[in-house]
Amino acid sequence: MAEGEPPTTTRSNSEWLSALRAGGRVQEEAFAELRLLMLRAIKGFLARKTPAAQVADGALPQIAEDCAQESVLLVQANLDGFRGDSQFTTWAYAIAIRVALGELRRRRWRKAALDEALLGQVLPSWPIDDPGPERSLAQRQAWALLGGLIETSLTPLQHKALIAHAFQGMPLDLVAEWLGTNRNSLYKLIHDARKRLKAALLSHGVSHRDLIAIFEALPPERPYLEEGKKRPPRDVS
């Protein structure tokens, strides 16, 4: 393989694992090959994903290099977590894309430059940015109810996390850092907040269908919810 040329891997999963744990030159070569594979994947992904205006000229190659390096370290640290139920490279690519998207989100967030004093504090007076038809009375009433329930039915921590992430656009990893927790605990916190909100809305006689109809917020396709209609979820209470 010429230097820098993206490899075409022919290693099986067990060959990858064995080489990555071998030590010495075999291990170094395996990590170098993996880094090139992940770098190629990240470069292609970033090129498709990132409008030129979003990142300063010439920054993408360096971002890709940094993400590939971080991805290799994560693979190394989590090698024992590979379950073997997919190609090893698919598992590694998932790590690489997660790292690359995390970096893009961090950059977008830094550019947004929200006043830190407002972080997780204040609900917007109206939740939807895009210009649309004039707000109806029903929409204003529904938002007043939903906003009021966010203010009154959540714990202070749930309130902060939901506002920062859902309404202010702060990436989950950064919300977790900000609140001094980790991604899994934050997901659980937001899940608990959703459960409380759901219960509060239902107790006010407001259903999912009601809210969606009022806000006309149905995206063109709702495949997951359609699946749910065909095959009722096991637990929707």
Binding site: S86, S207, Y224, G228
Partner: protein
């Protein structure tokens, strides 16, 4: 917040399950398997419903899945023909 994101927020509130849900780490443990099932034409959401549910509830995690599918499609295209 964009209109579609607000709709998604409402969806996730009402789709919240009563008990615990799969965490982001557990999701990432199964994501590669889910993506390969999907790309091989199997009904991944039926085989791994908890992964599908997490994806619906966590748009950031879903974005990683979409990106992974793009990478797999790109790798497939660039693979030497057999």
């Amino acid at each position: 917040m964009k209109r579609k994101d607000f709709g998604r927020l409402i969806d996730t509130v009402f789709a919240a399950k009563a008990g615990e849900e799969m965490s982001c780490s557990e999701y990432f443990d199964r994501l590669a398997c889910y993506a390969e099932l999907e790309t091989s034409g199997e009904d991944a959401s039926a085989r791994l419903p908890e992964v599908r549910h997490h994806m619906h509830q966590c748009p950031e995690c879903e974005e990683v899945y979409r990106g992974l599918l793009e990478v797999l499609a790109s790798e497939e295209k660039s693979a030497p023909s057999k």
